[in-house]
């Protein structure tokens, strides 16, 4: 039995190493030719003869949408988990848990279609319109771009301006972040719920005995479980970084960096799924492999610390995800 387990582990590591080596082999040509400029340039121009490959704009898109997703999803997830564990009566907490987990079962392409045809027009017509009216006169840095000037190729036209520059569009970083937030809610909620269940009764009783209110005790519980909750957020983040089909339907797919939440963007996974099939020249193909390698490494870098933290506090269900 132990032998089986060990060979299973070895096979997993072997598989990971194999994937890594295949990607490295595929990306080797691009690594040699493009080098670290790959990460410092935001121009992605796969036209034959131009062959300029820089992923800065895509990495920026991944970072911004992931950040927005966490900003929206983490508080809601903690709230939902507190509700399930500490507020809801037994007959309600089961169904609520189930409904949240059901969100995880929806295929991401379904989220994408819903995002493109329902969420994106709604976002454009209501929340983004309100935000635009509220914020369009507030400039972050008064440099470079001024409203009314014509964008000039190849200047990065909308940077830096304000948070809502360009007006409501519905296909932008905000839409990408929002759809990711919905998609990572279940995983963060489920793990937070499980770590909150680990909060020892003895401490809870002690808190009440010292005269703490229910709210103070809940804050104590959240604080006690903070490492686990942080781990849950990190796993949510790893999922957000890796998400593809849903986000390309709503993010606008442009390779420009912008400080505006209403500007179109692109993510690392997005460029891969959009262009991989037609990447038919060696350097183009190799650059795509370089993107894949970047993704693999960045998801390892986010998943491993999360796992480590969750293991340390021994959250029971951590291994399910």
């Amino acid at each position: 039995m132990a032998g089986l387990a060990i060979s299973g582990v070895l096979a997993m590591f072997g598989l990971l190493a194999l994937i890594f080596l295949v990607l490295l082999d595929g990306a080797w040509m691009a690594i040699g030719q493009i080098n670290w400029h790959f990460f410092t340039s935001s121009v992605w121009d796969p036209v034959k003869g131009h062959d300029h490959y820089g992923v800065l704009a895509f990495a920026y898109g991944t970072a911004v949408t992931t950040f927005i997703a966490l900003l929206l999803a983490v508080p809601v997830s903690i709230g939902t988990a507190v509700f399930i564990v500490r507020i809801a009566p037994r007959w309600l907490s089961g169904p609520v848990s189930f409904l949240v987990e059901l969100l995880a079962a929806i295929p991401s392409v379904v989220y994408g279609l819903w995002g493109a045809f329902v969420m994106s027009p709604w976002l454009q017509n209501y929340p983004e319109t309100w935000l635009y009216n509220a914020l369009h006169n507030i400039h972050l840095i008064k440099l470079g771009y001024y409203p009314g000037s014509t964008p000039k190729y190849p200047l990065p036209e909308y940077f830096p301006a304000n948070l809502v520059h360009g007006g409501p569009s519905g296909t932008d970083y905000l839409a990408g972040g929002l759809i990711l937030a919905i998609m990572i809610l279940p995983i963060i909620t489920a793990i937070t719920r499980d770590v909150l269940l680990q909060f020892p009764d003895s401490i809870e009783h002690g808190a009440y005995a010292l005269g703490a209110t229910w709210w103070q005790t809940t804050r104590l519980a959240i604080n006690y479980c903070r490492v686990g909750i942080f781990g849950a957020a990190m796993l949510g983040m790893a999922r957000a970084i890796g998400e593809t089909m849903a986000i390309i339907m709503v993010i606008g797919n442009t390779d420009r960096i912008s400080s505006s939440l209403f500007a179109g963007g692109q993510t690392l996974t997005g460029v891969f799924v959009n262009e991989f099939l037609e990447a038919d020249r060696p350097i183009y193909f190799s650059a795509m492999m370089y993107v894949a390698l970047t993704l693999l490494i960045s998801s390892l870098l986010t998943t491993l610390p999360a796992r480590f933290m969750l293991n340390r506090i021994g959250a029971r269900h951590a291994s399910e995800e």
Binding site: V43, W44, D45, P46, V47, K48, G49, H50, H52, A116, F117, S120, P121, Q124, T150, P151, K152, Y153, P154, E157, G167, S169, G170, T171, I248, M249, G252, N253, T254, D255, G264, Q266, G270, V273, N274, E275, F276, L277, E278, A279, D280
Partner: protein, 352 residues
Amino acid sequence: MFSRIGKLLKVAVPALALAVVGGNIARGVEISGAGSTFVYPIMLKWMALYEKSHPNVKIDYEAIGSGGGIQGLINKTINFCGSDAYMSKSQMQQAGGVLHMPEVAGPEVMSYNLPMVHQQLVFDGKIIADIYLGRITKWNDPRIEKLNPGVKLPNLHILVAHRSDGSGTTFIFTGYLCKVSPSWKTQVGQATSVNWPVGRGGKGNPGVAALIDKTKGGLGYLEYAYAIQGHFPVAKLINKDGDKVQPSIASVIAAQKAVVANLPADLRIHIINPSGAKSYPISGFTYLILAKDLGYMSHAKAEATVKFIHWILTKGQSYAKELDYIRLGPAMQKKVLANLAKVRWKGEKLSY
């Protein structure tokens, strides 16, 4: 325990093998193709009709994208390839000699979302290029107004939409822009994916259509069939001879006629900005591509493949219209059939 499994295997393996072989005998010849997604709807129709009238032939076509189809042809894993872009010289070398057979044409249309405008708009190539370069940003730009006298154009930002996925449609569209605008040619160029100066990308025709549809002031390029079936408004384009042309079967066949006269011998051509009063300026062929010598497959497969392709190029053409593809014009069809006649199997001629 193990001996029982062993016994079971002894019985099951020959039975399975028999089933596989038997299946093959019953099905006759099986041929496989892969590539273009653009051609997939009509290919499904062709396959179904052909299999019905030729019950001994089974055809499989995987719509994995033109690039994938070409790769399959180079690696000799498929019998025929469907592609919206013709193969490059180096690809043809890798594949060891190929023949291109245009099968149907597909125009591209400029579609827009201006609910307040009821007349059909007219564009020319330079204006489209400048919109896509970000030099024209408003619908009431004097240059657009000049081409559309009597139309009250709104003071609205143009939301430029393009394909985000690498696609033959983009290849043809950017090819058109290169031909009509020197700035486009030097700054952006022609490819299946380019570095777009402005606009938003949508995945596939539905993605672009969603972008146009959602926002007042949207403008984008769509495949003709998709735009017609979705009842999207389409613009007339000014062609090389200065005429306003509606995208239609007649105008695309006229465009084919215009290019037939100086067609390259290998038929690798897009119908971009041809001369002729009635010619529609942006369309491309989608191709069936075969290896020049089909010696890498069995004789039966080679013959079945060539027969199927001959059927597509002749009888199959009449089904183009109902699916909103554009059939080959008679002059073009003659050239394509002449190309098909060059296919060999280990040096032998194939009958069809």
